[in-house]
Symmetry: C2
């Protein structure tokens, strides 16, 4: 089958590239459902900030800042400049346009709206075609155990620039969180074509989604193929601390460890040409593709490759 619903799980930047590719190659009448990690959401300066949701939203709306690789394009920085001058906390860079998203989201959440409702409305107003969904409307907060104790994820990721050695990760709130019903509904949908795990960090972007009760069971019950794209290429992560964290966990930063990490969850793994030689030893069906997405054409080509691979596996 070459139609039906595609569900994509994604963290931030790398995942968003494939999510964009999927949204462009799928027919407009069957846009993908993009499920975002909210484990790296946090409260900062009194604002509710959802970095992965926003990276996805900006990327899918064509508003992403391609110079920085994060935040919005056509951004201005007057707020941040003044905040620094006033002695405010300025380690998390908030552009003036980006800030409007956080402030309005915070206001609506305080008003009692759900994160998914706010996200849907923002996405519609910014012209995002695919449906963008937080994994849960309940708060899940990734925490990082360092040699100085447990710290918040953004404290680790942005403030301390991933310098601390990661001993352990925890997803606070995950056990009590309810997966978004539309996420579970899509996984049970008869029309489900494929589940795509985007090339996001398995430990900090995908594991929080899998930690929400019911998600692993829904994956196990799901009749459509579940395929992941490895975020590790030739022993390195394209961006971010994936390889560093794997090393700190005593794991080889390799596609083999990515395959082992996801284990039975997967029906297939897409790896890069750089890793083609180990394809047969991964214990999972593999497809080899160019997984580094530099251009828009790369994103679309990988999306087509992933979908073709999933369609070839078919329902199980």
């Amino acid at each position: 089958m070459t139609n039906g619903l595609v569900v994509a799980l994604s963290g931030g930047i790398g995942g968003a590239k494939l999510a964009l590719g999927l949204s462009r190659v799928l027919p407009p009448e069957e846009p993908p459902l993009i499920v975002a990690n909210t484990g790296d959401d946090f409260e900062h300066l009194g604002l509710s900030i959802s970095p992965d949701l926003d990276t996805l939203m900006y990327t899918l709306a064509g508003l992403d800042n391609q110079v920085f690789g994060w935040g919005r394009r056509d951004e201005t920085w007057s707020f941040m400049e003044t905040l620094s001058q006033l002695g405010g906390e300025d380690w998390f860079r908030l552009g003036d346009r980006d800030l409007a998203v956080h402030l309005e989201r915070t206001r609506r959440l305080r008003d009692g709206q759900t994160l998914s409702a706010v996200t849907a409305d923002f996405a519609r107003r910014l012209g995002v075609a695919p449906r963008l969904l937080p994994m849960s409307d309940d708060p899940v907060r990734t925490r990082v155990l360092t040699d100085s104790g447990w710290i918040d994820f953004q404290e680790y990721f942005v403030h301390q620039q991933c310098r601390p050695v990661v001993r352990e990760l925890a997803f606070e709130g995950a056990a009590a969180a309810r997966a978004h019903p539309d996420f579970l509904g899509a996984l049970a949908d008869e029309r489900l074509r494929a589940v795509v795990i985007c090339p996001s960090n398995p430990f900090i972007s995908v594991d929080p989604i899998l930690a929400v009760p019911g998600v692993r069971a829904a994956f196990a019950a799901c009749r459509a193929p579940i395929v992941a794209v490895s975020p590790i290429i030739g022993g390195k992560a394209v961006k971010g601390p994936t390889a560093k964290i794997m090393g700190e966990f005593g794991l080889d930063p390799s596609v083999s460890e990515v395959a082992r990490h996801y284990g039975d969850l997967l029906d297939g793994l897409v790896i890069d040409h750089a890793d083609a030689s180990v394809a047969d030893a991964l214990g999972v069906r593999t497809a080899v593709a160019q997984t580094l997405m530099t251009t828009l054409a790369d994103r679309e080509a990988l999306a087509r490759g992933v979908l073709g691979f999933a369609d070839g596996i078919g329902r199980t």
Copy 2:
């Protein structure tokens, strides 16, 4: 005497002009204490906004936007533009730089700091020489009775652009508010030279200050002269709804009514040349001056005139 402490009471724009004049003509070692109305403070988009304090702060720091007459100079509007796009409330215009003040103030107030402490720190960082003090650290909120019921002051002033007929004004919280101890302390100070009521709206900018318990008594006990500058010139207000409100209260928008409104509180009233003919009929000592402040020289000249007038009255 020509030295000692000068205390100035001020609302927003008109008052801030004279406050700036005072701060420039007084010796740097004896800066004025500027006491700001906080009755038009409000909570908006989850932010604690103090319009009069901020107008004073920007004006005294030389950061005021002289094109708009409110807000900051060198302002950008990316936040507001995006907020509108997201369907947020955009009737109260918040520039990107201005926003940093509100957000950081809100964060610090939630942290348990007082409004006066936050104001003092911001003023220091922005290079404001005079001491800038809210009348109280406790919330006072001006409310406006219209034919459609009671509404918040900024709803009346900005959102409805002063269109509703004002039936009554109330200063919610004033009866329970404590005047800032440094304000009362200054009024009782042996070294007090003069109290200047700036040409702000008597009903909406000065009355909230006078409504705080202890302020009128401190004025009555105060041995230094208390002089006001009339915000009404030739039957008109320079800016804002002063004349309109006076008319709605059944009062002639005239210096006579300004004199009557302040009554015994004053030792002297400074009026404009346009009103010189009624000077003798006001029942209070008057000085005639150019009270319209267009240039910086005008602000300084009026400040000198007011201080000279007060010094001439002397302690009573």
